[in-house]
Assembly symmetry: C2
Homo-oligomer: 167 residues x 2
DNA sequence: AATAAGTTTCAATTATTTTTGAAAGTTTAA
DNA sequence: TTAAACTTTCAAAAATAATTGAAACTTATT
């Protein structure tokens, strides 16, 4: 397998993985492309490499910047914009965790709290509902807090956590 | 908010969360419904409550059973099948983790290994590719191993992990 | 062994999500 | 201040994913 094939395979794989985790395939592919590029890439180049339209490239780059994992760069003497990805994997994971927590987990927790605190009648059905959703609330809250704690180790948190677990 | 509203809100919310994480909305809704039901539910009832077709119900129940988080039950004297969800949240999380690892992480690791072990020329571009994909391989492998270790604590792993982290 | 009760399958349809492309918008430089 | 270079926006189109429903299949009962 030569470089070109390998790069393509990586981009396709990352795109497919993204899809499976609820991330638009093109967004994941752009991210993959930038991750393995040693220097900033222009929108033109992204369009060319992935064979996508300008609008698609623009919107997905905006999305990646909103996640805080892709940055705009300006090259001296060049009018157009270039893009780079966060390449530090600890940092990447922290940012994705934080963002998913903010966008998805926190709002879900709010609703879990609402539904788990209704006044249940003495029907077994209703008691079970309150009991189960309360447990779910506790579980999700604990998991969310833990993710926060983990990523607070910041530098090499995965490695540090691994150490702690081994003890 | 009364019980019926709360239950509906929970089912909708769980469905929406599923979508965001790459799980078919109906599948997540069926799972939600079963999680908060204190007794086994028939396919008829699922169809009725979620207003979906028989085919849809059948396929998504099969999917949930493949994940190992929903079980078929038989009631004495009844011909038809009933379904229940895994209600223990530790167990639920373990099963989901294991399955996602098997279906998605492991195959990705295989490809990361392939692409990160190509013979790079001395071009900075190619060197960076090999370097970055190698790091990614290491990171994903470590994360996958850790998930495995975590869930090996089995009972109350989330709580136990939390303890360890605090020390 | 025929019928009834129930479940699964899958081609066709419907719904949802993504992508395109061209017009509108913005910024820089002459 | 105008024009060129480049980016963003968004309605329409295309692609993808989910859903339906009826026929085929399976299992239990008489």
């Amino acid at each position: 397998m030569d470089f070109k094939e390998a790069k393509n395979k990586f981009v396709q794989t990352w795109g497919a993985l993204g899809s499976q985790w609820g991330i638009n395939k093109t967004m994941a592919q752009i991210h993959a492309l930038l991750m393995v590029s040693n220097e900033p890439v222009s929108m033109e180049d992204i369009m060319e490499e992935l064979q996508i339209s300008r609008g698609n490239a623009s919107m997905n780059l905006r999305g990646l910047m909103d996640w805080g994992i892709v940055y705009k760069e300006f090259k001296a003497g060049e009018r157009k914009e270039f893009f780079t990805a966060e390449k530090d994997l600890d940092e990447l994971a922290v940012k994705i965790s934080r963002e998913r927590s903010k966008r998805e987990i926190k709002p879900t927790l709010k609703i879990l709290k609402e539904v788990s605190t209704i006044e249940a009648s003495d029907l077994a059905e209703e008691k079970h509902f309150v009991d189960q959703t309360s447990k779910l609330y506790d579980f999700v809250l604990k998991a969310d807090n833990m993710l926060d704690k983990m990523t607070e180790f910041n530098d090499n948190w995965l490695g540090k956590l691994f150490m702690k677990m081994m003890k």
